[in-house]
């Protein structure tokens, strides 16, 4: 047994008690240079031909991580003491430096100096921790110099003057980051450096480009001690700042101490806080609790137009509106929401942002340092000032920028350039921006993850069949119905009438006759958990990704392709493993019994919705699959009817579909996604399965089931819908989902589209359903409002949703097929998994929408179009229209920006109309207008879709 005992070190730790810790120093820690003759160089990470080896100090790692991430910087020795200090100070930077060290493409070497016999330094009396660590870094640098001899130059990189001076005294080559990077002769790298904020003075000229703006000075942030005592005494309130996605000058802080949201208006009240920061807020005096009328389309800044975007399909993605005046009539200042201003920032949520530079003229004389303003794609983020030496390169690019500081004297925060993604407007670049913005991991799966896959080609073995709980259902005629071209087939169906089995043996019934006793409906879901085992790298990765992401032109899988498209996919004519739900139903579609089993099936046909619909509609076809389809459809219709009777909402959203050119990947055509009976049929069985499974798992595991709930919308959320309804003389009852469903059914206007439009407006008032752990809430809160069911979960798409994988495991455990993995005993972890799933789910949706918006823009670039639109929101200088044909929504201005507020138009709030002063013209809500759609470029490289009235 190897036992390197040299001399143990005993240190004092803790405040009161003396703690002894052993510290073994070793002689088997290697320098990591492949050319070293002394060390074992089998795992050496530095490059063969390294001429300079860099030793970086802690602050360099903490501040210049973007530089270190650049592949131009290599042959770096990261000392364990540096890692330890970085970890204590900033965990996210620690994870990033660790990722670089783990990356086999990079030549970064971790040297455990603290455990090395020759580089360990003892604490000296009267020395601070910092000084001791600096000394350790110098000792390690010196060791390298001695150890490697004249073969290479060892360079200590430090920005600490004192450290650098001592290093030089001790004969170590030391340089600052700036001077080192300058010596590399790579001007682009200089952009990556974080600048000390004292250089801010030069930046004034950038602001002078905007003469209309005064220089804004923010009030000082209170020191931490004052904040803590203020929070204690209840003067300040702590919470996370959330900036309105559609109006960056409005933000909310959810405060537990006053049990309400505090609204923050304007940049000066926000006082340099970013979205996601944990802040301390002071309430403004009550007479300043103004109800800001955000009635004009443009923001406070004048140049921040609202863009054309995809019509929202839920309240979570819709622009947030604060009820303008207390519209129910009680104009009472007391009932308004509290407003506040931010006095201090408790924790920053700064990270890097994706966007582009604000167009600006090239400064005279090239090669010099230019100051530029960076505009993030995420509108919640303020502009960021950066310095660059490569302005001409960056102006037409999408870039990533990091924030460094924001002091009181500057209107905008300062940051530095990190990297370039690609050209603005280029489809690939913009798609990548979409992925980065939504924190979506699109990297290929790692080799550890791929190692968890079953050997390929995979097929059902006799072993699979011999397992007692797996039922052999290969003789049944199973088929699947999915969107065209679907490769990850999650589900398949089967149906037969009992009576026919009894009497005919092989059956040919054309319909389930009322005389037959019962029908069996089977739903098969891919048995993903047979391949994804808990705790494996594959499972961890899937759990992190949470969901597959569907962009217009590509799919980012949650599981590796061999699983999604082959092994798990219930394709036709191959034997596959499935998890089945088997219902015995009356011909009236009442469920008599429900059974779950793992099974082996062989799908007879993989149909698309269109094919399935065509088969059902063609009365000449009498083949078995078609009859099955018809039988299932008649059952589904009855189930659907019953569901609607219970009060399930039929909501509508405007989903569009693109036809993509297979060669160029450009959109060829765009149209509304058609929903057919076949879609509804499949959906109905899925819903039924999800409800059944939710009941089953909750019965077995009341505290650790993963369910999905849909909160009842509050009156405030429905306010916009009610206002519109009132203006058009429609009476909506929103007391319950049943009442709302009924009044939506009765909402018929003069034109056929009216009802759908109202449903679309209703849909966007609802928030989205969320996953949760059953132990975290009480049963009444489990309710799914939209589906009007007390319990719901996701079981039917384990190939593309991780929630379903978890539910599969729960279901298998409830049937005694397998044991429940240990994670289910850990409530906190389960809750954090549910939170992550919600986050990923939402991001996947946002990414999908952004991708559609991007393709819409590309489509209309060459195709200016005239079309019909409906007015959905009235503003003081125009209105928002919804374009049903393309599913988009955007502003139409009646006045140009220059004459904004000239008083030619006025808004009738009650009737939701905008009228011309002289009474000659008026537009009212839901009115049909003809518009012209065209892509314009008001600034170079910044194309946008513009809507104008014809």
């Amino acid at each position: 047994m190897l036992h390197n005992k040299l001399f143990p070190k005993k240190t004092r730790g803790g405040k009161i008690i003396r703690q002894l810790r052993e510290h073994y120093l070793r002689d088997d820690i290697y320098c990591g240079a492949p050319f070293c003759t002394v060390c074992d160089s089998s795992g050496a990470r530095l490059s063969e031909s390294a001429s300079t080896i860099l030793v970086v100090d802690t602050n360099v790692v903490l501040n210049q991580i973007d530089l270190l991430e650049n592949p131009a910087i290599d042959d770096v020795v990261v000392l364990s003491i540096v890692l330890e200090e970085v970890k204590n100070k900033n965990l996210s930077v620690y994870n990033r430096i660790r990722a670089i060290c783990d990356n086999s493409m990079r030549k970064f070497c971790v040297f455990s100096n603290e455990y090395h016999r020759d580089t360990y330094v003892k604490d000296m009396r009267g020395e601070t921790k910092n000084d001791r660590n600096d000394r350790a870094i110098r000792v390690a640098a010196q060791w390298y110099q001695k150890h490697l001899g004249g073969a290479v130059k060892v360079l200590l990189i430090t920005n600490d003057k004192e450290n650098k001076r001592k290093a030089s005294e001790e004969g170590i080559c030391a340089e600052t980051v700036e001077s080192y990077v300058k010596s590399l002769d790579r001007p682009d790298l200089l952009d990556l450096l974080v600048r000390p904020s004292s250089e801010d003075v030069d930046m004034e000229e950038v602001e002078d480009l905007r003469p209309s703006k005064r220089k804004v000075i923010y009030s000082e942030h209170k020191p931490m001690s004052e904040i803590t005592s203020g929070l204690h005494r209840g003067i300040y309130h702590q919470g996370k700042l959330r900036v309105n996605r559609y109006n960056p000058f409005e933000a909310y802080v959810g405060s537990e101490s006053i049990g309400d949201e505090i609204i923050i208006y304007g940049r000066s009240n926000m006082n340099r806080a970013f979205d996601g920061d944990i802040v301390a807020v002071e309430l403004l005096p009550q007479d300043q609790w103004k109800e800001e009328k955000s009635l004009s389309i443009a923001g406070e800044d004048g140049d921040e137009d609202e863009d054309v975007h995809l019509a929202p399909n839920s309240a979570d993605v819709a622009p947030r509106t604060i009820p303008q005046q207390c519209s129910t009539g009680e104009v009472n200042a007391g009932s308004c929401r509290p407003c506040g201003c931010i006095v201090g920032i408790i924790k920053r949520n700064w990270h890097s942002y994706c966007g582009s530079l604000e167009p600006m003229p090239m400064p005279g004389g090239s090669g010099g340092v230019a100051h530029a303003l960076f505009v993030s794609k995420d509108r919640r983020i303020p502009k960021i000032r950066i310095q660059t030496r490569q302005l001409e390169n960056l102006l037409d690019k999408r870039i990533i920028v990091s924030v460094d500081s924001w002091d009181r004297q500057s209107r905008y925060p300062s940051g530095h350039y990190v990297r370039t993604i690609g050209e603005i407007g280029d489809r690939d670049t913009e798609s990548e921006v979409v992925l980065i913005e939504n924190d979506i991991n699109s990297r290929p799966f790692s080799s550890q993850v791929l190692a968890c896959l079953p050997p390929l080609p995979w097929s059902v073995t006799s072993e699979d069949l011999s397992i007692p709980f797996r039922q052999d259902l290969r003789h049944l005629r199973v088929f699947s119905v999915d969107p065209p071209g679907c490769k990850d087939i999650d589900d398949a169906l089967h149906c037969y009438a009992l009576r026919s089995i009894y009497f005919l043996g092989y059956y040919f019934v054309s319909n389930i006759s009322p005389s037959c006793r019962a029908a069996y409906s089977h739903l098969y879901i891919a048995d993903v958990t047979n391949f994804v085992f808990p705790g494996t790298p594959l499972d961890d990765e899937a759990s992190q990704r949470g969901t597959s992401v569907y962009l217009v032109e590509r799919r980012i899988d949650m599981l590796p392709k061999p699983l999604t498209e082959d092994v798990c996919s219930l394709r036709s004519d191959v034997e596959r493993l499935a998890f089945s739900v088997i219902w015995e139903m009356t011909p009236e579609a009442d469920i008599i019994s429900t059974r779950y089993t793992k099974s082996v099936i062989k799908s007879a046909a993989a149909l698309s919705y269109v094919e399935a619909q065509a088969r059902m509609d063609d009365s000449r076809l009498m083949d078995p699959v078609t009859t099955d389809l018809r039988n299932m459809n008649s059952l589904a219709k009855k189930m659907r009817l019953r569901r609607i009777e219970r009060g399930a909402l039929t909501l509508a959203s405007a989903e569009v579909k693109f036809q993509i050119d297979t060669e160029t990947h450009d959109p060829l055509d765009i149209g509304m996604y058609q929903i057919r009976e076949a879609n509804q049929m499949v959906e109905e069985f899925m819903l039924a399965a999800n409800v059944s499974v939710a009941q089953q798992i909750l019965k077995s595991f009341p505290l650790c089931s993963l369910l999905r709930r849909h909160p009842t919308p509050t009156r405030e959320m429905l306010e916009p819908l009610l206002r519109v309804a009132a203006a058009v003389g429609l009476n909506l009852d929103v007391s319950s989902s049943k009442a709302l469903a009924d009044s939506l059914d009765h909402a018929v206007g003069d034109d056929p589209y009216f009802n759908k439009l109202i449903r679309i407006l209703a849909t966007r008032c609802m928030s989205q359903a969320v996953y949760f752990c059953s132990g975290d809430l009480s049963p009444p809160e489990y309710q799914h409002y939209g589906l009007a069911t007390p319990l719901y979960t996701h079981f039917t798409s384990p190939i593309r949703r991780y929630a379903d994988v978890i539910v599969h495991r729960l279901l298998a455990a409830s049937l005694g097929i397998s044991k429940l993995p240990p994670v289910f005993q850990d409530r906190l972890q389960l809750t954090s998994i549910a939170d992550n799933l919600n986050y990923r789910h939402r991001n996947a949706q946002m990414a999908g929408r952004a991708s559609v918006e991007l393709h819409t823009l590309i489509y209309f670039r060459k195709r200016p179009t005239d079309t019909e639109a409906r007015i959905v929101k009235i503003r003081s200088n125009g209105f928002f229209v919804f374009v049903p044909k393309y599913g988009i929504e955007g502003p139409v201005y009646l006045t140009t920006r220059a004459e904004k507020g000239s008083g030619e138009w006025y808004v009738d709030e009650q009737e939701q109309k905008i009228k011309k002063m002289d009474g000659s013209l008026s537009y009212s809500i839901l009115q049909t207008v003809q518009i012209h759609m065209e892509v314009v470029e008001p600034q170079p490289n910044r194309p946008k879709l513009q809507l104008t009235l014809i």
Binding site: M1, L2, H3, L20, R21, E22, R26, V110, S112, Y115
Partner: protein, 241 residues
Amino acid sequence: MEYVNPEGLRVDGRRPMEMRQIRAEIGAVSKADGSAIFEMGNTKVIAAVYGPREVQNRSQQMSDQALVRCEYSMANFSTGDRMRKPKGDRRSTEISLVIRQTMEACILTHLMPRSQIDIYVQVLQADGGTRSACINAATLALADAGIPMRDLVTSCSAGYLNSTPLLDLNYVEDSAGGPDVTVGILPKLDKVTLLQMDSKLPVDILENVMQLATEGCKAIANYIREILLENTKQLEYRRGS
């Protein structure tokens, strides 16, 4: 918390399969029939053996074998907080029992009927793995007292943290709350006489962790044998002189 860093080093600089420094000394208490001090890193234990001698409480006397008694205690100064702990708390009683049973399994008690053997172990300094250190110290003390034994018993612990089996947990690792397997073996007979574990562990991992602890036991056995040999040599030398 990271107990094994990506470079494969534990918090105290050991690698996962490495034991702490061990040290043993025979004959620390001259009054006793046999005694020893055993150290595993900063864990330091003293053991003293009295016997075989007359049974004190006649009612406990056994006609076919010797009575083995064990008393375990912790010195008040053994941990950082110098708290006065009541004697005979549940933990001490349990460890006393564990040590007694383990030692009983290797002492040839049938050779010494109607007698009594007392084993006293005290922890002088605690830094994880006290149970194992006690057993190792007791073995040495019994050998020093010349009590007939089937084989030496040696013990070592292993744990499982950050998905890595770790040999000989120290206090920091022990208080991580992960699984901790203490194994005692008769090295020559290759038999396991003690297996204790807190918390849960999947069977295949338990096997690995147990295997590692067993390796540790064997290494300790080798060391103990060396010490005993050295001791015997010295005794011989003294007798000869």
